[in-house]
Subunit: 274 residues, 3 copies
C-alpha cells in the first residue's frame, strides 16, 4: 500500500510551497526534488497568497521564526484552506520560547492543518499548552519508549480528534495517527538524530505525500514516515560500506529518497496498526 | 576561447557580492570558491553600498525575496552601476507572484544589468510582462525545444536589444545572446533539474565570469553556461561510477567546477552560434 | 590535554544557541551535532532571551547581518552574561561595511564575550577600529606569516587583555590567546579556505568546547582550533584517496569531526605555546 503512495508522488509531482527556516531549507528542497515533488520556498507576507495559489500543497515550519514569517504563514494557510490544498505544520522548537509556542497556537486557531509533525515535546506543547522544551530536541522526560507508547498513542489520537489533523510524532518509533487509527513505524536509525533537518525533511516529504494522495492523509503520512525511516536505514548501510560521518549520511539519506521505489518501500516498511 | 575565460576567473579571483536567497546561498558561495572567485553574501539595506564597493561584481537573485532585500538590491545595483561593476540578475520565480514580478520590473527600470539569467518563463515574464508561472520551474507551455528554438532565440535577441543585457535562458539547451549574436549551449544533463540551485549556481558563476572578463560579457556568459553544463556531465559520469542520487550529484557538480580547467572546457564545450 | 576537552564535549553535549548567517547555518548545525553538541538557530528578537535561557552557550555570528538580528544578539548576549553562559563572537566581515563594524563594536560594548574568533582583518577591525577589509577574507596586507607572527601574537594578547576574551585569529597558523599565554596551532590545510564556512564552523565548535569546559576557556578554544585543523588534514587525506573537490571536502571535514576522538586529537595536534 505504501508503495502506491510513493509512486503517486512521482506521478503527480506535487509543487509544495514551503515557509521554512534557513538552516534546513536546502535539504528540504532537495528531498522534495528527490521524492519526485517540486519545492518553492517563499516567506514574504507580500507574496504568500500568490505563491500558495500556484502550488499544490503547503508546508509550514517554525524554525528560525520571526514576526514577518508568522504573517506569511497565516496568509498562506488561510489561502490553502480556501483552495483545499493540504497543509503540514512542523512546530520546530514549540515550547522552547513563548514566541514559538504562541505562534504555533495562533496558527492552530486560524488555519486547519491536514497533518502536524514534530517530536513528542513539540506535539505535547501544542496539545497541552505545556512548555519547558530544551531546544529543538525532545525533552528527555517526554521520550516515548516501550513502556509508555500506548499512552503516547492514546494522547496522539485524542489530539487528532480535537484538531482534525493527522498527528506524526517522530521518535525511535514514529506514531502516525488519526483520531481512531495509529500506525507505529519501526523503521529508521539513531544516526538520523545526528544530522540537522531529519524532522524538517520528513515534514516536507509528508507534505508531498499527502498532496499527491488526496483523501488518504493518514496512510500517505504513514508512508512518508516509513519511506524516511527506510531511507535512513539504507543510508546507514551505505555509510558502513564507504565510511564517513553525519555529513555523508545526510547526503546518502537524500540520495536514498531519490533512488527509492514503491517495491523497495513495500519490502522494507515495518509497522504495526493500533 | 571559453577556456581562456575560465582561466581569467582563476587568475583575477573576482569578489562577488551576492544578494540572494537562503535556500541555495551555501551552494552559490561554494561554487564561487570552486571556480576561483570569492563570495560575500549580504542583503541588508544598511550595508548594501558598502559591500558592493569592496567587491568586483554583483549577483542579484530574487529567491526568498522580501521587501527589505529589494531595498538592498536597488542600492547595491545603483552603486555597482556607478562603479562600473558587472551585475547579473536572476529573476527566480518572476511570474509566480505579483511581488516578484513587480520587484523584477522595478530593478530592471532602475538598474542596468550586464546579464539576466533565468528559465524561459522567468525571462518571458520580464520581457513581456506575462505572468502565470507555476513555481520556480519553467512553465510547460514555454519549454524550448527543436521546433521553437529559433523563435526563442529571436525573442531573446530582441529582449537583449531592448534592455542592453546579455540574456541567458537555461533549458535543455541554453541560449546565451546579445542583440545580434546567440550561443546555443548543448552541454548539461537532465539530472541538473533534480537538485535545487542549478540556476542560482549558474547565475553566481556567470557573475564571476563576466566580472573576470570585463568587456566580453557575451562570451564570458556563454563560457559560464558551457562550464556549468560540462560540469553537470562530468558529475553525472562520476555518479554512474559511484552510485548515489541528487545530493551526491550536487556535491559532484561543485567538485567538477573546482577541478575544471580551461583545456577540459575547450574540449567538452558543445555550442552553435546563431 | 586537548583530547580531554574534546571528550568533555561528547560527555556534556552542550546545547548552543546560534544567532548566525543563512549561508553556513546548516554546516554550523551539522558540525555541532558532529562534535557531540546540539544546535538551535534562532535570531528573532522576540525569542532571543527565551532561547538563550534553555541553552548552555551562545554563538553570535555577524554574517548576513541585519538590524533585527543585532537586536536579538544584544538581548541574547546580555541574557547569556546574566546566566553565566559562555559566548563566542564571530565578527564576519567586520571592516567590510560600516554597519558590520559598528554592530560589532556595539556588541563589544554591551556584551562580555568569552572568545572572539575571526581572521586577522576582522580582529584588527575590532581592536583598532581599522576598516578597509575586502569581503570576508583577510586583507592581503594583514596576512600573518613567519616574519610578523610575533607581533601578531603581541597584538592579540594586548587585545585579550583589554577586552577580557580569548582571542582566536584564524590563518595558516591559528593564534589562540589570553592576555598572557598564546597557543600557536599548526594544524590545518589550505583547502579549508576554498569552502564557505570554515570560520563559522570553527566559531560554533569553539562555543561547544568552551561551554563543555567551563573555566578553561583558553585551552578549550585552543583544543577546538586544533581539532578543526586536524579534521581539515584528515578530510584532505581522504579527499586524496577518493578524489573530489571543495564540496566533497566540506562533507569530509564535518565527517572527520563526527569520527574524531580524544586520542586522535592528542596524537595529531601540533602547537607551540608562546
Amino acid at each position: 500500500m505504501f508503495g502506491e503512495y510513493l509512486e503517486n508522488v512521482r506521478r503527480n509531482s506535487p509543487l509544495i510551497h514551503n515557509i521554512t527556516n534557513y538552516v534546513t531549507a536546502n535539504d528540504a528542497a532537495n528531498i522534495l526534488l528527490a521524492c519526485g515533488g517540486s519545492p518553492i520556498m517563499a516567506d514574504a507576507e507580500e507574496e504568500a497568497e500568490d505563491i500558495t495559489s500556484v502550488c499544490d500543497g503547503l508546508c509550514i515550519n517554525l524554525g528560525t521564526l520571526n514576526q514577518s514569517k508568522v504573517g506569511a504563514m497565516l496568509k498562506a494557510g488561510k489561502k490553502a484552506n480556501e483552495l483545499g490544498h493540504p497543509i503540514v505544520l512542523d512546530p520546530v522548537g514549540a515550547g522552547s520560547s513563548a514566541f514559538r509556542t504562541e505562534s504555533a497556537r495562533k496558527l492552530m486557531n486560524e488555519v486547519r492543518f491536514d497533518a502536524i509533525r514534530g517530536n513528542i515535546t513539540e506535539i505535547k506543547t501544542l496539545a497541552l499548552g505545556k512548555a519547558g522544551a530544551h531546544g529543538v530536541d525532545a525533552d528527555s522526560a517526554d521520550i516515548v519508549n516501550k513502556d509508555n507508547i500506548s499512552s503516547a498513542i492514546a494522547f496522539a489520537k485524542a489530539f487528532s480528534a480535537s484538531c482534525g489533523a493527522v498527528i506524526v510524532i517522530s521518535g525511535a518509533e514514529d506514531i502516525v495517527c488519526s483520531a481512531c487509527k495509529a500506525y507505529v513505524i519501526k523503521n529508521g536509525h539513531p544516526i538520523m538524530s545526528r544530522i540537522t533537518g531529519s524532522g524538517c525533511m520528513l515534514s516536507a516529504l509528508t507534505a508531498a505525500y499527502i498532496t499527491a494522495n488526496k483523501g488518504h492523509g493518514l496512510e500517505a503520512a504513514a508512508a512518508a514516515a516509513a519511506a524516511m525511516g527506510v531511507c535512513g536505514e539504507l543510508a546507514y548501510e551505505r555509510l558502513l560500506v564507504t565510511g564517513g560521518g553525519n555529513a555523508t549520511f545526510r547526503n546518502y539519506l537524500i540520495d536514498a529518497v531519490f533512488n527509492m521505489d514503491g517495491d523497495l518501500l513495500e519490502r522494507r516498511a515495518k509497522y504495526e496498526i493500533q
